[in-house]
Amino acid sequence: MTLLYFAWVRQKIGKHEENLALPAGVATVADLVAYLKRLGPGYAEAFADESRIRVAVNQRHGKFDAAVAADDEVAFFPPVTGG
């Protein structure tokens, strides 16, 4: 799967994009977040307050209970502030 990070999520994790083989036991966005949190202190910090994180799966806004699959593009970012 492709993971994308924007704004301060990107800054805390230290990268904009990465590819990841779907980890064992990861079926939803919430599972993926739990997995990422354990990858390092930057990830842990980025996902520390999950209420501040929004997600898009394949370029569509989603929720943490949304399913994720091996060839999905999953993006994490703060609430949007355009306009």
Binding site: A7, A56, Q59, H61, V80, T81, G82, G83
Partner: protein, 148 residues
């Protein structure tokens, strides 16, 4: 309905976009909105980041939703990215319709949804400090009133 969506660093011409929206058909009314970088305190610049794969599709969905609610002849959305100075224009939403109430309502609807759904993020530069703008609960409430 004619839809034009552009994400670009460059400024835009409201006159040119309104002219394009009214070049054909019978749109008697065009409602437009421009958002500008605030000119306040020590705000030196705003930098806009977005999610390129997603932005246009999300705005297109918002425009389709507007067209399903009001009889519109055209919608133009131009959103700038990159670094913008105080006073600079950030976004243009222009809506053409036969009747002005449809144009006004759809333009306000589009702005409310753009603010809460289009994947853009603003980073402020104040002096040498940079920080990300927080989302406003008021924007969520503004978008929610259209659910009623």
């Amino acid at each position: 309905m004619k839809t034009k969506i552009k994400i670009q660093p460059e400024d835009f011409s409201i006159d040119a976009e309104v002219a394009a929206l009214t070049a054909e058909g019978d749109p008697g009314a065009v409602a437009s909105f421009t958002g500008h970088v605030r000119r306040e305190g020590d705000l030196a610049a705003l930098t806009l980041e977005h999610y390129p794969h997603m932005t246009e599709g999300e705005i297109a969905r918002i425009a389709e939703e507007a067209a399903s609610r009001w009889p519109l002849s055209g919608v133009t959305v131009i959103h700038r990215i990159g670094q913008l100075a105080p006073g600079a224009r950030i976004v243009l939403v222009a809506v053409a319709a036969t009747h002005r109430q449809a144009a006004f309502q759809a333009c306000e609807f589009l702005m409310d949804y753009l603010k809460t759904h289009a994947p853009f993020w603003k980073e402020e530069k104040r002096g040498t400090e940079r920080h990300w703008v927080e989302a406003h609960a008021g924007d969520d409430r503004a978008a929610e009133r259209w659910h009623k």
